[in-house]
């Protein structure tokens, strides 16, 4: 044990007091942090219940339109030209429903931990051309020009090994958002670059942009920046949370840069994957342990 004299004792007490003060300070900081996390979790729960009540309208309205229009076409109550127009509307409403449902299923799968991978070689340029064609009706409605620089000359291929379904869902969401949020009469663009084993895809819009304080938040589930009565945009606020989760699972990342009033750029980077079977996890000098079944101890 340390021995103290008249000189060292006050200094030691002072030191201990100071340590105590720092400990209390740290505890305070931790409490504040915990309170913030707690608030965030509460909000997330609240948004989850809002989602459940909103989903009824989001699903029912397009479904009612599809049923009504399809009925009229099936009953041959309209002439061929009107039927053609109606069929176009049915397709667009069904496309939106399908897109939203796929997102809900993807989020449910991610939250249940039931995601599995299916790795294959994919032509990214062809996938993008397909996606742009899929979203062209939405772009036309808003008079938005969709520009694609697919990283390959016209009609050329850009081969990359990844999970094609997951990459498609990520890109579809980025593209859907870009068209949704870019201003009418402007453009949304996609740039693809391949740098060795890394694929980088940047999706840019000319929308209102996202203020710095909200840039992290947009990747949280159910978060839409315009909510309540002002809500003008479709969707459930799941797309970006899914896109980010998939990007990370594919060994990559999702970044956002934005200039307020000028638009946003979402950048996906993913590393080329090996097939699941080829993961090199064996070692010649590794140890082996066998734990026998528990005896209920």
């Amino acid at each position: 044990m340390d021995r103290f004299n008249d000189e060292t004792l006050p200094a030691d007490l002072q030191r201990r007091l100071e340590e105590g003060r720092i400990a209390v300070d740290n505890l305070r900081t931790m409490t504040v942090n915990l309170e913030q996390v707690n608030e965030k979790l509460r909000l997330s729960e609240e948004m989850r219940s809002n989602f459940l009540s909103n989903i009824r309208n989001e699903m029912n309205n397009p479904l009612a339109a599809i049923l009504g229009l399809a009925r009229q076409i099936a009953d041959r109550k309209v002439d061929a030209e009107t039927a053609g127009t109606m069929a176009g509307t049915v397709y667009r409403e069904a496309f939106d429903l399908d897109f939203q449902l796929r997102n809900i299923f993807a989020a449910a799968e991610l939250e249940a931990g039931e995601v599995s991978f299916s790795i294959a070689r994919l032509d990214v340029a062809a996938l993008l051309r397909q996606l742009v064609a899929d979203f062209s009706h939405r772009a036309e409605e808003k008079r938005v020009a969709l520009q694609v620089d697919a990283g390959a000359p016209d009609g050329g291929q850009l081969l990359f090994t990844t999970d094609p379904e997951k990459l498609k869902i990520v890109l579809a969401n980025l593209l859907a958002n870009a068209v949704e949020f870019t201003k009418e009469g402007t453009r949304a663009s996609v740039h693809v670059r391949r740098d060795g084993g890394t694929l980088t895809i940047a999706v840019a819009d000319q929308g209102p942009g996202i203020p710095p304080a909200d840039r992290k938040k947009v990747f949280d589930r159910f978060v839409q920046l315009d909510t309540g009565a002002r809500k003008r945009h479709r969707g459930h606020g799941l797309g970006l949370s899914i896109a980010k989760a998939y990007a990370e699972m594919l060994g990559g990342s999702m970044a956002l840069s934005s200039e307020e009033g000028r638009g946003c750029v979402f950048t996906l980077s993913v590393a080329e994957l090996l097939s699941a079977g080829s993961v090199d996890a064996s070692s010649s000098d590794g140890n082996e342990f066998i734990f026998e079944p528990g005896t209920g101890s």
Binding site: A107, A112, G113, S283, G286, E288
Partner: protein, 163 residues
């Protein structure tokens, strides 16, 4: 080694959960991640998770990439398959130091292990064996039908292999 078996194979990715009534050989690879294997000796079936971070703090999706969610959901999955939680026994693996960090509070591996111990204690599920920590990666093979776990330590430092 595991005996020859006709069990199905499953590769568990980081952030995934697997539980089945049929016997499976589940393989996963851990760095600082932790896997909790739960086994029901009465029904002779089990399940496993693989989480990367201890707590979900409201960011992104509430996925089993986070320990508090992964453990709760694994228990729930086994209960949905008919297990009584009192029959569950746990084995905990992983949580190695794969990235050198100076601040011990930043050691994700240790925090992942601590979380498994705390949550399983709260749930009254005994941990009957564990191989955690250290500066190694681990490859696990869990036989969900017998509860046997085979661990191979990977001497080189690895990051958590996701796929």
């Amino acid at each position: 080694m595991l005996p020859k078996t006709d069990a199905h194979q499953h590769f568990l990715i980081a952030g995934g959960i697997f539980a089945s009534a049929q016997p499976h050989l589940v393989t996963t690879i851990l760095g600082s991640c932790v896997s909790v294997c739960l086994w029901d000796g009465i029904l002779q079936r089990g399940g496993i998770n693989h989480y990367m971070l201890p707590f979900w703090n409201g960011e992104g999706l509430a996925s089993p990439k986070y320990g508090n969610i992964a453990i709760a959901k694994l228990i729930e999955r086994l209960q949905n398959l008919g297990s009584d939680r009192r029959d569950l026994r746990a084995k905990v693996f992983g949580g190695g130091v794969v990235l050198r960090v100076s601040n011990p509070f930043m050691n994700i591996g240790d925090r992942n292990i601590q979380l498994a111990e705390d949550l399983l204690r709260n749930e009254n599920i005994p941990i009957i064996s564990a191989d955690t920590g250290g500066t190694v990666g681990r490859k696990l093979i869990f036989h969900t039908g017998t509860g046997t776990v085979l661990v191979k330590k990977l001497p080189r430092q690895i990051d958590d292999i996701r796929v």
